[in-house]
Amino acid sequence: MFGRVCLLCSLSRPVLSAHLSRTHQLRAFISSYESQYSLNKLYPGSDQDVTKPLDKPSKELFLRLQDDIEEVSETEKFSGFIPIDKLNIKFSKSGGPGGQNVNKVESKVDLRFHLESAEWLPASIRAQIQEKKQTNINAKGELVITSQKTRSQMRNVQDCLQKLRDIIAEVQRTPKEPDENSAAVWRMRQEKSTRERLKQKTIHSRTKTDRQVYADE
C-alpha cells in the first residue's frame, strides 16, 4: 500500500481512495513543479495568477490605443479609456452582396452615445466634436458611428471604436497656420504657373494659325 503513490500530486503519501476531491487535485496542480524557467524565477515581481487583475494599471496604458492627445490640463486630459457600458451598441444585418451569409449574419454594428452627457470625455473634446462633427450627430444629440466593413461582428465593433478614437484625435488637431513668408511664396508660384500656362497657350495658338491655309496661296 505504501508503494503506491498519488498519481496526481508530488506528495508520496499513501493513497487510500482512488477518487480524490476536486480541490485536492487542483491544489496539487498549482503547487507541484517548478523548474529553472518557471515564471516565478523569470519574473519575480509579477503575480502568476492570471485571474487577479492588476492593482494599478499605468495611466498611459489606454493611451497606447489613442493617437496624440493634446494635454489641455490635467483634469481635462482624455485618459484613453472608453467605458463600453456607457455606449449603446446595436447589431443588424449588413448590406451588399454575399448570399445567405450576409442575409443571416448580424455583422453591421451601430455605436451611439449621447454626447453632452458623456462624462468620460473631457468637456473641451465634447464641445469640439459638437462643433466639427455635426454630420455624425443626430437630432437627439447622439454621436452615431456605424461599420459594416468586415464579415465579422467583432471586427466591426473594433472598427467603430477605432473610428471613435480617430474622431477624438481629429477634433483636437489644430490646422497649421501658414507663416509670413509662405503666403508671398505661394502668390509668386501662382503667378508663375499662370504665366507659364498663358505662354503655352500662345504657342499652341500659333501652331493652329500656321496650319491655316488660304484659298489664294
Partner: protein, 294 residues
Amino acid sequence: MGSMGNRKALEMVRSMPRVSFVNIRDNPGSKKQKKIRGQGGSRGGESGRGRSGKSKRDTRPPIGYEGGTTPFYLRIPMFPFYKNFATRRQYLPVSLEKLQHLIDMGRIDPEEPIDVTSFVHAGAVRINVFDRVYGIHLTDEGADKFVAPVNLEVQWTSELSIAAVERSGGTISLGYYDPQSLDILSHPLQFFRRGQPIPKRLLPPKDLVDMYTDPSKRGYLSDPNQIKEDRLLLAQKFGYELPDLTKGSRRALHRLRKDPRQIFFGLQPGWIINLTDRAVLKPVDAELQEFYRA
C-alpha cells in the same frame, strides 16, 4: 509442460555437443545473398566496365551530359517556389467554431484545461510530428459565436481569437512543444507504455522566442503583469467588458498553468508512469532530481 515434439527435441539436444558458432546456422531464407556487381555472362571481375577498350579505361562524362549541347537540367531556369517548404513548421488549424462544437457535443470538457491532448482525443486533429507539425493553430472562424469559458493552450493564434476567448470569460496561452514533447503529449498512453521517464520540454528555438515571450500573443514565457495589461487593452480595442475571473466556480481552473519544462499537468519530468501497477516511479538520486529541475 511440453508436447511430444518438444520432449524429443530436448532429449536430442541433451546428447549433442555444446552449441557454439561452429554448429549453428541461419534459418533458410533469412539472409539474402548480396548480388556482386557484374556476375553476368562474363562471370564478373570487370566492375561493370566490360572487356578491354576505351570505355573500360576512360573516365566517363557527368550524368546528364548531352555530348556538348547545354544539358536539359541547365537549360531550364530555377523556379524555387517551394524552396525550404519541406523544412517549415506546420500548425494544424482548429477553428473557434469547431472548438465550440466539440464542447457542445461533449467531446471536450470545458471544466478541464484544454491542450493538444484534448484536441487529439476529441478527434479534431491527428498529429504526426514527422510531418513537421509543431502544434495547433487556433483560427478565428466562429469568433462571434464563441461563448465557452475555457482554459486553453495552443501553439499559434490571432488577436481576434484571443479576444473571443477572453470575452467569453476564458484564458488562452501559447505554449511551445518540441517535436518529442509534442509526440508524447499527443499520444500519452503510447508513451507511458514505453516505460521511459517523462523528458523535459525544451525551450523554443531562437526564431520563436520573440513570439513566446510576447504578452500580446499570450506567450507562456511572457511577463504575467504585462499579460494582464494587454487583457485590458484588448477589451478596450474590441469593445467588451473584461469578465471578472476571481468570481465563479471556475477560478481554480483558470489559474492552472504548466511549468515551461512540464509536458503534462501534475506530472513532472523524470517520472515513469506504470499503468499496469497504477504507480508512479520517481527518481531518488539527487543528481537526477537536479537534472530534471533544471
